[in-house]
Assembly symmetry: C2
Homo-oligomer: 192 residues x 2
């Protein structure tokens, strides 16, 4: 919880709270951090969509979501793997912008491991005959499902390089920027 943070709070403690809130977001469907926005740059401009946060690992600096290999964002990410995640919790008056490089894991150890631990309801999307964003022409022909969705399942893992934390506190907004450099986090107070 960000509620106890003051202007005098050590940035290291803020960073710890950020990662612990992200971990709560992974586990809690109703937490605002469960469904961040993920932004990608494309030739035709930026794109951004809501994703489900599947893992947040502070030690390895990793954020993970799942996607479909047929999604248009796969091609965009292969051209330019830079991404930014946006977490916004209106109740906690907190915004996190987190930048990193995305790696795509398809049919490898990580994909297999995360596929096995995912729920049947989540898996069903990947077994649809048409990939996300494809044009629907004939509902009847497209109503079936393929045998298995695993072939379409992709783990998007990004290693965090920058965290911009903004806390819209009633007593005055607080903002810190954390940059990963030379094997450690460097914090700076910046104007909100």
């Amino acid at each position: 919880m960000f509620g106890q943070i003051q202007e005098s709070t050590d940035p290291a403690a803020v960073l710890e709270t950020i990662w612990s809130e992200l971990a709560v977001g992974v586990e809690t469907g109703r937490h605002a951090f469960h469904t961040p926005a993920l932004a990608i740059s494309g030739r035709d401009g930026p794109s951004v969509r809501t994703v489900v946060l599947r893992e947040a690992d502070s030690r390895e600096r990793l954020l993970i979501c799942h996607t479909d290999i047929r999604s248009p964002k796969i091609a965009l990410l292969r051209e330019n793997p830079l991404v930014q995640w946006l977490f916004y919790d209106r109740e906690q008056k907190t915004q996190l912008r987190i930048s990193g490089l995305a790696e795509l894991h398809h049919d490898d150890i990580l994909a297999e491991q995360r596929w096995k631990s995912s729920r049947p309801g989540s898996r069903a999307c990947y077994a649809q005959p048409l990939g996300p964003g494809e044009i629907l022409r004939d509902s009847a022909a497209e109503a079936g499902t393929t045998m298995d969705g695993y072939g379409n399942f992709v783990v998007l893992r990004s290693r965090v390089e920058m965290i911009d934390w903004l806390y819209l506190r009633a007593g005055g907004h607080l903002r810190l920027r954390f940059d990963w450099r030379d094997g450690q986090w460097h914090a700076q107070r910046i104007a909100p």
Copy 2:
């Protein structure tokens, strides 16, 4: 409200609902559409932040938010004015992704008009001595406010070219893509 929309609903009716929900989002602080994410492409990758939706005009196809001329996104937008807005309403199970070209209005008729109609609380941000994202070094020296924030106030107005509507309905997800072409909206059903 999107709750009444079925697979058989006319896309024109869906589009009308989209714009009317955006208008509700403008007026209602607690509506999820009040605080969309705005994505921009930069040299160092994409960036995305929460903004406040100030206007949604279906007739002119405009979305408006306010920003500070000292914000780093101003330089990014001057290089590449393509933006995408993301609206996500968890309660209504609805996501909107809206693409357009951003125009920046600074010290012109639109800026003046919107400044005059904005509340003192909103204006105060623009009167801070440091612009958003600037590094804070000396709290004492930076505690004052400038005379007037109007000089920093920018209206970001984008004309909508594409709307991607996704409705995560329990009975089967629905998705429609609307493209503005040749003076009218063209709708296509696409895979969710």
